[in-house]
Amino acid sequence: MGENTERHGIPGTIIFDGAEAKRGYGLNKMCFSFNEEANRNAFLADEDGYCRRYGLTDAQRDAIRGRDVLALLEHGGHPYYLAKFAGIFHLDVQDLGAMQTGLSKEEFKARLVEAGR
């Protein structure tokens, strides 16, 4: 159980509070910049240089490199800003849902249908 879960007690969920906002500031600022196409292209052209410019930590840099959403969240990434990062690779929220839950996309979608019964 992570420290965020200890603070807030919600399993499988990181509440984006001050501690996360502090931890993730550079990472989120980088992802926020992806609202501009020129920045998305600049990132694709030179990932390392782009990450350096925003002062990412090594752990954040690794998680970006590995497209590892759960790790990005753990290191202060905010889902709304991370969505801009995921968008560069044309991942939709169901791709992301599957990745984070360890299911296939079809299994993830089936689980959602199930929730409606």
Binding site: N35, L73, K84, L112
Partner: protein, 279 residues
């Protein structure tokens, strides 16, 4: 004095924009969702609003963590749809209604709401998708009201209710255009969670209880803290705060005009609700 004709609550999931672009309204996946808007369109034809006040939350478009307001009110002449970064089609700017906006700001600050005033504001799918759903052929000028659900601490449900009430009163005291017909939009929800190991979380029974409460007992949800709401409705289910504020703007008793609920649209329990002031 301006008059509130009613409130429309609507999900704003990004995928809606893609479905509309593909004309997927009759597709089996989408039909149960889009069908819910027929009654909304009939009602809008009847009540003919002149302007929409839209409670919405920003998703990393107009606000960043450098300056994150709890409550912001748009006072811009127009609202441009920004590039959201993941490729939904952008739409033409929506005209604003600066006179009504400034009136709201004046009344709200006088009522001790600590508003952030925005003479420029980019909007995202939380504004554009409800607009497309409600007015497929056009639309009305808008006044966006942004509620922070990006970063803790969120405003409490109680505070959001109070904001909605205050905006309702403020609209009623707007006398520049005495016959102005205002519709309130609450954009977001219902239960969903995009991120983390609990991604895909949905809570049908809480959603239904909440929607019930909006008619009979609108303060019911104000008993819950921000943490409670995340737990019960998912990280993004807290967008129900927009529905709550939109309900509160109507004041006393209301009548349910139409209600549709469908799981899932994308990762979300999609809801569409229209309430109007009881005669």
């Amino acid at each position: 004095m301006a008059r509130i004709v009613g409130s429309i609550m609507s999900t704003h999931v990004p995928a809606i924009a893609n479905a509309l672009e593909r004309h997927d309204e009759a597709d089996p996946y989408w039909k149960p969702f889009f069908d819910g808007y027929e009654a909304v369109h009939s009602w809008l034809d009847e009540v003919q609003p002149d302007v929409a006040v839209i409670f919405h939350n920003d998703h990393g478009m107009n606000f960043f963590l450098d300056k994150m307001p709890t409550f912001a009110v748009g006072c811009a002449p127009e609202y441009r749809h920004g590039d959201e970064g993941w490729g939904i089609p952008t739409v033409d700017p929506y005209p604003g209604h600066p006179d009504l906006s400034w009136h709201l700001v004046e009344v709200l600050v006088g009522d001790e709401f600590d508003i952030t005033t925005c003479q420029e504001m980019l909007v995202d799918h939380a504004v554009t998708n409800p607009m497309k759903l409600l007015w497929p052929g056009g639309g009305v000028p808008i006044v966006p009201v942004t509620v922070n659900t990006v970063m803790f601490p969120y405003p409490s449900a109680k505070r959001c209710f109070a904001l909605g009430e205050a905006i309702g009163r403020a609209i009623s005291s707007y006398d520049v255009e005495p016959d102005l017909r205002v519709v309130i939009v609450g954009s977001g929800g219902l239960s969903h969670q995009l991120e983390g190991k609990r991604a895909g979380f949905i809570n049908k029974s809480f959603d239904l209880r909440f929607v019930e409460s909006l008619t009979d007992d609108p303060r019911w949800v104000t008993q819950f803290s921000g943490e409670d709401l995340v737990k019960e409705t998912g990280s993004q289910g807290v967008e129900l705060l927009m529905w709550l504020a939109a309900r509160a703007a109507l004041g006393g008793s209301v009548r349910r005009v139409t209600w549709n609920y469908h799981i899932p649209i994308s990762n979300t329990a999609a809801g569409t609700l229209v309430l109007e002031p009881a005669a």
